[in-house]
């Protein structure tokens, strides 16, 4: 690492030096691609292609990838917050139970509390419910955070307690009953057949994302020009723009290639006065709302982690709590805010999970804490603190879900699935640890 200090943007990236370090390294330096992130993408590609071959060509199909994207959402949403929890040297074991409890409260709002007041399918039911869920999630997160940061009880213990408490509380909300059906607008968050945005809107989102990528790259250049810093070579910028936009548009093309199932398509045809063609009607579902919510969560959380004071402080606290304190940072308040954020994300995830089932059950989110933590850790978050990325955690969630759904596709029985998932988790973190030791 020491030899590389001068290279990335250090102002000495001369041609002679680049020739010395070889073409691969020069390429990585010029594009400033994170090697670990690249490794994860390669790992994901290996998993996908492996399953595709082993499952006889059903894994890499639009249908399976569409389902995979929806299945990943709830864990991915929470993983974006778990990254910050782990970066700040804490842990949250309560997220699965908290998801269950909040989903039950939101279920009760829609099925028992609001209907007597405003009737069923009142236009604002979903937003009131969501607001209550998020507020309660923030409050519970604040409680966890307060006990951890101000009373000094270890996060492991506080959230282990939370795991038991909120699972119990989830049962208590309706004495173990399942609360259904949910408000139909609220149900849109679950991404069933009607809760997708269609092909056109998906393309629009894709194009907007591409414009965002380009603006980001241009803005980065302008910022660096402002202080006469060395710029990335034009070819590297072009390469990044092309790969970024290509990946986004490619993903949307795949998603849009998954048509509505016949039943839904018939309803759609009837609703839009389209005569039913003999060969069946091809209507794209487009991106599902849970996926959009997860992506939005990732964008917001990435912004918070990288571009705000709060995010910077979370990382500084994780790197050296004493230094953060001496730097004048109110470390306790920052830790408390991390847990508040985690509670909010649990509420959003709970809304998505219950909307997907169109029911709230007290078992919702059971064992999710393990998948969420695994996703963050596979995504590069380190329990030593100070290290982790939100996009990494999203990828980690996708890897975990890919393994599960791939094994399901292949008809592997669930005990073996658990064994494989567990082994992969340990191996992934083992490789990462070894890599990090070498890098440092």
């Amino acid at each position: 690492m020491a030899e590389a200090t001068g290279v990335p943007g250090g102002g000495t990236g001369s041609l002679a030096q680049q020739r010395q370090i070889g073409p691969v390294r020069a390429f990585m330096n010029a594009t400033e691609i994170d090697a670990r992130m690249l490794g994860m993408i390669v790992a994901l590609a290996v998993v996908w292609i492996g399953f595709h071959i082993m499952s006889g060509g059903v894994f890499l199909t639009p249908r399976n990838l569409w389902n995979l994207s929806v299945q990943t959402s709830t864990v991915a949403i929470m993983a974006t917050g778990m990254v910050l929890v782990i970066v700040s040297r804490n842990i949250d074991l309560s997220v699965g139970s908290l998801l269950g409890f909040l989903a039950m409260v939101m279920g009760a709002m829609q099925t028992e509390i609001l209907p007597p007041l405003v009737g069923y399918d009142f236009a604002l039911t979903w937003i009131i419910t969501l607001a209550v869920g998020i507020a309660l999630g923030a409050l519970i997160g604040a409680l966890h955070g307060f006990v951890i940061a101000y009373l000094g009880v270890p996060a492991f213990i506080v959230t282990l307690g939370g795991l038991l408490v909120w699972r119990g509380a989830a049962w208590w909300v309706a004495s173990g009953k399942t609360l259904a059906p949910l408000d139909s607008t609220f149900g849109m968050m679950g991404g069933g057949g009607h809760a997708t945005i269609g092909a056109t809107a998906s393309w629009v989102i894709g194009v907007i994302t591409c414009i965002g990528i380009l603006v980001g790259i241009l803005n980065g250049r302008r910022q660096r020009q402002r202080f006469n810093f060395p710029l990335r070579p034009i070819w590297a910028e072009t390469f990044l723009a092309l790969v970024g936009c290509g990946a986004v548009l490619g993903a949307i093309a795949v998603i849009n290639a998954y048509p509505m199932p016949v039943g839904l398509a018939r309803q759609y045809a009837a609703a839009h006065n389209i005569p039913w063609p003999d060969g069946g009607l091809f209507v794209s579902l487009g991106i599902a709302t849970p996926v959009l919510i997860a992506i939005a969560a990732a964008v917001v959380m990435t912004f918070i982690a990288n571009r705000t004071r709060f995010g910077r402080y979370v990382f500084a606290i994780g790197g050296n709590p004493e230094a953060a304190e001496l730097g004048g940072i109110n470390t306790r308040w920052i830790i408390m805010k991390v847990f508040i954020l985690m509670g909010v994300l649990c509420a959003i995830s709970g809304a998505v999970a219950s909307a997907r089932l169109n029911a709230a059950t007290n078992a919702l989110g059971t064992l999710d804490e393990l998948y969420v933590i695994a996703a963050a850790v596979i995504g590069g978050a380190s329990f030593a603190g100070g290290i982790g990325t939100v996009p990494g955690a999203m990828l980690g969630a996708l890897v975990m879900q890919s393994l599960q759904s791939g094994m399901q596709l292949m008809g592997i029985e669930s005990p073996l699935q658990n064994i494989v998932s567990g082994v992969v988790l340990v191996i992934a973190v083992g490789i990462d640890t070894a890599y990090r030791k070498r890098a440092a």
Partner: protein, 262 residues
């Protein structure tokens, strides 16, 4: 130093204890603008603890702190920084996982007009300070964990001098440095002194202290032994103060507050 000037810093009768252990007992020390006061003593003498009271890391159980003759309360590092007190800690107090600019501006980040971190501006400012301090420094984008001991020390020093400190506390500032870098720090201390900054210098290296300090304050087992003018004493006499806790014969104690009390 002239008696009729108001000291930049006065700490009077400071007591600090940790769970019944007295770390600092009745310590009184002062510092004038443009002066370097060397703070010396054996391990556990209470030097760092006393300075941490001034930098806001610890709170005194009792005692007063005066800046420009006015009483101030310093409850946390932020208070100290508002008063223009900057500290280079012995441990450097760097967040190892973030880069040099992020460490330099930790707690005082530059923001864009959108309220987001202005990393480019912070890097530019860091390059400027580093250009003066350690011109060969290059690792602006790497986590400081990957830097050498000397480079890390440069980051800690750069952080302290960037914010126009009036009072600088340097706790073993040359501990991790090689000879060339140590010389650089000495030059820096002399330069900062010329700019009118008051410096408390904690050091085990008695020669450093003799080279740089105007006055030397000696502590032993949590108590003040005394403050002497550097030019009035020899290194042996100072060593006797450190080890034996005895004042040399016929030497004036130049501590304004103590004198006022006597």
């Amino acid at each position: 130093m002239s008696e009729n000037r108001t000291p930049l810093v006065e700490m009077r009768n400071i007591y600090v204890s940790f769970g019944g252990v007295h770390a600092v007992e009745n310590a009184t020390i002062d510092l004038y603008a443009g002066e370097v006061v060397g703070l010396v003593g054996g391990n556990g003498a209470g030097k760092s603890t006393l300075m941490k009271v001034l930098s806001g890391a610890y709170r005194a159980d009792s005692g007063q702190i005066l800046i420009d003759g006015k009483r101030v309360t310093i409850n946390n590092p932020r208070d100290a920084k508002v008063l223009g007190i900057e500290t280079i800690y012995q441990t450097l107090a760097l967040a190892d996982n973030v880069d040099a600019p992020a460490n330099m501006f930790l707690g005082r980040e530059l923001m864009t007009k959108w309220g987001t971190l202005d990393d480019v501006a912070m890097e530019a400012a860091s390059r400027k300070v580093m250009g003066r301090l350690n011109p060969v420094f290059k690792g602006f984008k790497t986590p400081v964990k990957a830097l050498s001991g000397g480079q890390r020390q440069s980051v800690a020093i750069a952080r302290a001098i960037h914010f126009n400190a009036r009072i600088l506390i340097m706790d073993e500032p040359t501990a991790a440095l090689g000879p060339a870098e140590t010389a650089q720090v000495r030059d820096l201390v002399k330069q900062l002194k010329k700019e009118g900054i008051g410096i408390f210098l904690i050091s085990h290296e008695i020669h450093d202290v003799f080279d740089l300090a105007d006055r030397i304050t000696v502590m032993k087992t949590a108590r003040m032994v005394g403050t002497v003018n550097k030019d009035d004493v020899t290194t042996d006499e100072v060593l006797a103060m450190i080890i034996g806790g005895t004042l040399p014969q016929g030497i004036a104690i130049t501590n304004a507050y103590t004198e006022a009390r006597v």
